[in-house]
Symmetry: C2
Subunit: 370 residues, 2 copies
Amino acid sequence: MEKIFYKIEENTLRQYTKRVFLAIGCNEIHASLATDVLIKADLRGIDSHGVARLSGYVRLWQKDRLNPKPVMKVIHESPTTATIDGDKGLGLVVAPFAMQIAIEKAEKYGSGWVAVQNSNHFGIAGYHALLAVEHDMIGYAMTNASPLVAPTFSKERMLGTNPLCYAFPAGEYPPVVVDMATSAAANGKLEIAQRKGYNIPRGWAQTANGEPSSESNILKNGGSLLPLGSDRDHGSHKGFGLSATVDILSAVLSGANYGPWAPPFVSYLDPAPHPVGEGLGHFVGAMRVDGFRPVNDFKKNMDIWITRFKEAAPIDDAQPVIIPGEPELAAEEERKKNGIPLIEDVWNDLYALADQLKIDHMPSPSPLHH
Amino acid sequence: MEKIFYKIEENTLRQYTKRVFLAIGCNEIHASLATDVLIKADLRGIDSHGVARLSGYVRLWQKDRLNPKPVMKVIHESPTTATIDGDKGLGLVVAPFAMQIAIEKAEKYGSGWVAVQNSNHFGIAGYHALLAVEHDMIGYAMTNASPLVAPTFSKERMLGTNPLCYAFPAGEYPPVVVDMATSAAANGKLEIAQRKGYNIPRGWAQTANGEPSSESNILKNGGSLLPLGSDRDHGSHKGFGLSATVDILSAVLSGANYGPWAPPFVSYLDPAPHPVGEGLGHFVGAMRVDGFRPVNDFKKNMDIWITRFKEAAPIDDAQPVIIPGEPELAAEEERKKNGIPLIEDVWNDLYALADQLKIDHMPSPSPLHH
């Protein structure tokens, strides 16, 4: 099936996205920041977390589940820890605010850790973790998310794809960024398979009865995603444990909604009744590298680490080992130069948003065939 | 194949294990502590990390790779971070020392994080993380380990099974303990399959050429373990990323040996030439729960979390969801009462050790048939 897509120059998409956030009532600073987080996802090739979600945020605002003018505040604190009330704001804005506090605490005390309640979807975890790396710190970011994943032995959607990210500064090399969903596959991969009409590999999802499935639309039929590891024999209890860790740090520790109470991103699903906390939760942290050893020593050894892993004996000479964060950086360099590809559905969605919010459209690019 | 095994009363095994550590030169306090870590593994059913390893530690000492009288010291520090030189000590002693410093820092500042270099195998991660839980803190512990795991796309052993552990206090329920190797299967599982003459599931290990294998002795033929996720389609790059994170925090940050330079536990393999650091590395941490919210609120919500996950709809009514840490605690309660089962090989190994070190044997128990 031939797909039409469009390539949009980064700044065009950036200006348009900012107009949307301004139109729903964000102030100048918040609109720029939220835009930066989304565009960073598109640049880095994580298309499922970029402007493809823009209309989703707008719908949450329309349903009064998202406050465009949040007054974020620290509601609990120690020298190196804090909990933030995100005031129903965009996670895209709340998470960088939380990370800023973590970085300030780390500047003073060596490390800083901030739990967040009453927030919304925060985009890519990597954006937030990388904020710390700019300060020669190790960055840490995670969030809970719409319940789609079943624990090992269960058929019930109890957890989100609950991503976690560690980002480490290096020397000559770019940072190492481990940014991963704790499910076997992110939901975006099922959506791609649906659009292309492909089956999905066994081990990504199960039916409503908990049977293995290779149907890409199985979630629409009551199915659930599987934790990293896929089944008990291959360690799905570990993926469940990681996902539980993200849920507990992001939501039980912060006072947000956890487990099946985590509010869904899609506006047509209502949050679960009898909430156990406030909104969605995140957890971010920063540690000064020089709290452990001189920064230059660390970076020099990171470069040795990266070089050695890149040289690890490949199974196939054509496919060397990939350092975590390498593909995203390669995408970022390419897309900054050549533009960001948008599939037709996303382009149309963005175009409709302009009409709806009465803002200027983007200039129509020529469609490309792929 | 019928297996003979012995059941040893906890205190008998404890006294014997302590005699071994005293015999190699540990002082009273270190011998008790190292014993406690090993016996805890046996009690919790993690047989691969208990007294089954005792003769391995002794052989490291015989090879002068393990210092029974370490003078551990802080070599770098900030208010909430530190790096420890373990002075070639038993990880069983060095890691609790590091965790004690993390807990003291957390008492003062809300959190504490300690990287460790120049150490050895530290037993089960859960032991160390649980030390924090006793103080109403969240505990965190990880270590790098003998290189056995290949990164995605590689056939080379570059990483250990690099376990990580998060431990969370709860209220009415016991703590939630996520203690997991970041490989698809721990090496101990292959050893069990070898003893029983079973094949292993595809996805645990690969041949020396990087082909899938179900041979339980494939590591002896140059094969390697696979990261959690097993293959690229099922997210092995995530398992690799987690394992890399453990390696970087434990060894690059601390100044220990990382990647393929991590010194092997087995004494018949020499450490890699041209080391990039000192010994093996760990990373531990502690965060005060009340740095984020009142302890009672957190514990109450942990109990709701646990209750809700235990009630998640099961696929098979006979197998409910298992909360991380539950099986280990059940084993601990049962074995404290009924004794610790040892397979014949381990019993014989311990018995031989007594002769070698000229210490009192354990009284011979009657063999049981299983």
